[in-house]
Symmetry: C2
Subunit: 333 residues, 2 copies
């Protein structure tokens, strides 16, 4: 028995046929239509399903007429970059510019397979908890560190998205005061300290404020040849690993506040495991080791530093695997 | 069918016989033995059970021999001011000076009725969720605002204490930087901003720093006749309600950070209801109204300000009622 998992991102849509055991049978990717125009996105999803089902040449809108061609796919899960309810109504997906989009309803007109929609970080958490590093862990949280910060929460082996589907938004946990405001309008949100965007902003500030000796001795400054627009999270982490003082200071600030945010989560939810995913998690053991040194300071009961902090194991595939597994779980098959 | 609920506090131990519907049949209170000496506390609990069962004159240690006298009590729940596991091992209860106390084991030697132990705020949350303002609410959190700040979490109609029994410690959520450190050793913990202790500390600071005009016009200063040791949370709230500028500034700061803490919880857990209990909740609608004005600013998705903020309804009885209901739930009867 197989499912389709789809990871709808602001720049790419990934889709795959996933076996009931979480193995990827086939996967494809396409660009997200510009500006996230709803009908174009719905068409793209239809086309991806069409292509995965090897029904090339038959446009997605006709898939509902060719049930016989796809006996094996029992359900489709779609992870969306925003918040939604159980009926597949997307309340808000800022990077797609979506407000109150009935994604499930729109897809029903194209695809005759049950569709289940959830937040993308939640889908990745399901992936890790069913087929990845958190397999067998009943209470865990996956934190995605990218341009923003999100999370997916698993409690008692089940997804927990809150009473109104808007939980897990740990990027907007206020942990201090910061020199710039968050897109959400508040000041001090975790993602203004510990996302890739925040890392780049703070590094720019350090480079601007540093004295000439520090600047001209900086490996990071040489790498970008003074062009601040060339800064990215990976480069800053790479330079920090190699001892660049400015990059290291920026990374240490990211870690300090991330460790506060994770400490807050441990004090509140005491999960068995916290899984670090997203682009920044590619910094690997360097980041995990720093977090493991910093987090225990922020826990109330320091003698019970028991929550495991680990790196996500499924990489970019967590979303499609988790989405497929979610569809299977919703269908209870 | 009845249960006994016990609320073990640092200064008082309350105990009651509670019906399966949460009605208080009888209740009594005694002082907590000085210094929280373990065997004295265990004896006091035994004596309270003894007295509730009208076995006066027969010391608690013999209760196990008089089963026939107490056919109606199926279980005993005890809320403790600290963290513990499902086996009744109290890891840490700072105000009793307890570390790793096997409370269930010690009580088994005295009382021949099944005993179930949980954190006191969790027991109060169970009380409100089964018999109080949150009856019928599947996902809620009770926040106790007193000398410290604690919480009890209900998810999917069930207690959630974390993977290791140390969750719900929202008083140690770091929400900013503060002018004094928390007892836990960290700086910026919510309870250093929004507990009664924090309110008193900050008011003292304001009174010390205020100029003479403000001081001598202050109703609060007159009430305490200049003696800072007479400050307490109730007095500060009462004076704030009556327009005292210093008291109002202190209360507003408490509310500002409490609203950040509650906003963080909504962003992470999105509960249906947050119940405000503990001594400070006696400020009533004045506090709840201020919170309801302030919290929406701290929520990520401001258009979905759906979590209800309410005042606890069971008052000081929430602990004994919740403890009894917890025992009933654990016995699955």
């Amino acid at each position: 028995m197989n499912f389709i998992g789809i990871d709808l991102g602001a720049t790419k849509i990934k889709a795959g046929i996933i076996s009931e055991n979480g193995k990827i049978i086939d996967k494809i990717t396409t660009d997200t239509p510009a500006g996230g125009e709803v009908h174009a996105v719905v068409n793209s999803i239809g086309m991806l399903v069409d292509r995965l089902l090897k029904t090339d040449g038959i446009t997605a809108r006709y898939i509902k007429d060719i049930d016989a061609e796809m006996p094996d796919i029992k359900g489709i899960g779609i992870g969306i970059p925003g918040t939604c309810n159980d009926e597949g109504l997307v309340y808000y997906a800022p990077n797609l510019f979506w407000n109150n989009v009935s994604l499930s309803e729109l897809l029903k007109e194209k695809i005759n397979i049950p569709v289940f929609i959830e937040n993308d970080a939640t889908m990745a958490a399901i992936g890790e908890a069913t087929c990845g590093i958190a397999k067998g862990v009943s209470d865990c949280m996956l934190i995605t560190l990218g341009t923003g910060i999100g999370s997916g929460i698993i409690i008692n082996n089940d997804v927990y998205s809150g009473s109104h589907g808007i939980g897990g938004e740990i990027g907007h946990m206020i942990v201090g005061e910061n020199f710039y405001d968050c897109n959400c309008g508040n000041n001090g949100c975790l993602e203004t300290f510990s996302s890739a965007t925040a890392l780049i902003k703070y590094t720019k500030r350090l480079l601007k404020d540093a004295d000439n000796n520090l600047i001209y001795g900086s490996r990071l400054f040489k790498k970008i040849n003074g062009d601040m627009d060339l800064l990215d999270g990976k480069l800053i982490f790479d330079c920090a690993k190699k001892g660049d003082l400015i990059a290291a200071e920026a990374v240490d600030r990211l870690v300090k506040y991330l460790a506060i945010g994770i400490g807050n989560i441990i004090n509140i939810l005491d999960p068995e495991m916290i899984i670090i995913g997203g682009g920044i998690s590619k910094a690997g053991d360097y980041l995990i080791d720093k977090l493991n040194r910093e987090i225990p300071q922020n826990i109330w009961l320091k003698s019970m530093n028991l929550t495991k902090i680990v790196r996500a194991s499924l990489g970019n595939d967590a979303g499609i695997i988790g989405s497929a597994m979610h569809a299977g779980s919703k269908l209870d098959i």
